[in-house]
Symmetry: D3
Subunit: 68 residues, 6 copies
Amino acid sequence: MAISARNGIKGTVESVKLGKVMASIKIKVEDPALITAVITKESAEDLDLAVGDDVSAIIKSTQVMVAK
Amino acid sequence: MAISARNGIKGTVESVKLGKVMASIKIKVEDPALITAVITKESAEDLDLAVGDDVSAIIKSTQVMVAK
Amino acid sequence: MAISARNGIKGTVESVKLGKVMASIKIKVEDPALITAVITKESAEDLDLAVGDDVSAIIKSTQVMVAK
Amino acid sequence: MAISARNGIKGTVESVKLGKVMASIKIKVEDPALITAVITKESAEDLDLAVGDDVSAIIKSTQVMVAK
Amino acid sequence: MAISARNGIKGTVESVKLGKVMASIKIKVEDPALITAVITKESAEDLDLAVGDDVSAIIKSTQVMVAK
Amino acid sequence: MAISARNGIKGTVESVKLGKVMASIKIKVEDPALITAVITKESAEDLDLAVGDDVSAIIKSTQVMVAK
């Protein structure tokens, strides 16, 4: 299955921090050093995210801004 | 001025495609090869975005998904 | 590959309208009758979206509001 | 008052989980079985969301992706 | 009907620019002078948005960044 | 550095509420009285946000809805 989101950045999970509702996932990528994703705690648990996992950060193009 | 958005990915503009309202900007980065940002045509013009410009793709953490 | 986005709604493509940069996709689902997705024209073309295609509308939980 | 968000999906609240800042609301709809909305705890309290409430999940079209 | 989106900013429509798929709406507010909303052309037409209309810009809290 | 996000609303921080992962920042602006921003706790700490700080709420145009 392919998804319309244009942007996928491969990396490995560096940390998983669980709150009561949300979770912050740090993904180590080539450049920049780290991508932060905030997802539901439930998703983090369903994906069984753990340090060292190979993952991709997925981002819809309409969510990306440009700074110059 | 610093912004709360956690994610900034440096690159250079590879293409600027203007629609009537929106614009699609391709940013060449290390990995993945390309980030696509969809911004208003007006912003693209105000920033005077052109091929070769040094820019950053800026992404709020709550907009990033994780695929595994 | 699984994605952290919590919400997937199955349906069939009812219409594809292409602009210069963006595309509007109408997806016929059980309830409500129609979901509208706005994606890049490029994604619509890469996925080769056509009327009658079986697709899913995918939505990150942080993007969903509640009205009462 | 009408809102520009294209997508409204009717359902009933199945669960409300409050964190310190955010809240996760599960809405039972026809198809898929459940929609998850992450809103502020404050909104959940202001709307006085409780199990069984008739609500709508509201989603802006630019937030919807398509998977095929 | 009340919506969970925390932020509503009242103003009047200053301009409506229609593309093929998207529309850019400028809303004159007290401060800042102008808010830009990008919605579907379809929504702009369904709401029959015209210069001088009293409207509100509605923004979910998770979409707001802070710059300092 | 300039950012493509069209909307910046100046104000002062009225409250900072930290959860384990997320933070809710209330920004006092002219009209409406308050803007709520939900950012990561980490960003709130990195920006050292405190009551009385001069800040701007930054919002990408594609995230703004219109109600009429």
